[in-house]
Symmetry: C2
DNA sequence: AAATGAACAGGCTGTTCATTT
DNA sequence: AAATGAACAGCCTGTTCATTT
């Protein structure tokens, strides 16, 4: 059972949770909209996050006590209502972002080192 | 079943295979020695590749037709003999390295973008 | 159909066990 | 014990199915 030791690169889950926090801070989006935005953003890099992983990220942020769910009637079109999220604990959010930044930097260093060593 | 589409970061397997090729090019090392070298190299980045994953990388490179196994009597100390590897197909090796470089660059871009977008 | 969510399945990888020298 | 390898187990994540609006 991996205990978080000896780890390789950052996990997709953490990567997405980071973006979810970022979206919520900007008062944007519900689940699928976040996914579409990310797909568009990363399309040229060949990365297409799936909806289930986006939802899992959101759910986990709720379990972490960082976000809360809120139902919201849709303003204009399409269907009735969506689930939006709000920051409930800014401190926890800041801490999480800080931790993820460390992991992102570490991951970058691993990749950079390989590029330097081998090519 | 993931078909290599919509993928996130480069996999540890590919990362290690790249280093294995690099080691073999320098006529270095057998399995555990390679692992120790990598552990030392990445220790400060908190990455510690496990022996089974190193062996799997080596085996896969054999399946890929890039390396061949060769038993070699140990020169000085410790125990009797180890398994060393030789490059059998330089073209394939070059191609593989090129492919991995693409994936490394792509992965770096993903991480860099997240750092730019969120922080 | 859009949106959310859960169930299911498979791949990747760490831990453990087995074998040889 | 060092070295190699395979078996086993668990986590992560993509695919599929179910439900609601």
């Amino acid at each position: 059972m991996p205990r978080g030791e000896g780890k390789f690169l950052i996990k997709q889950r953490a990567f997405l949770k980071l973006y979810m926090i970022s979206f919520v801070e900007e008062h944007k989006v519900y689940g699928l909209q976040a996914m579409d935005e990310l797909k568009a953003k990363f399309k040229q890099l060949g990365y297409e996050p799936q909806h289930s992983e986006v939802y899992r990220s959101l759910h986990e942020l709720i379990d972490d006590g960082i976000l809360v769910r809120r139902k919201k009637a849709i303003e204009g079109m399409k269907y009735k209502e969506v689930v939006v999220y709000e920051l409930i604990n800014l401190e926890k959010a800041k801490l999480y972002k800080k931790q993820v930044k460390t992991d992102l930097d570490r991951s970058m260093s691993l990749l950079r080192k390989a590029l330097e060593d081998v090519y």
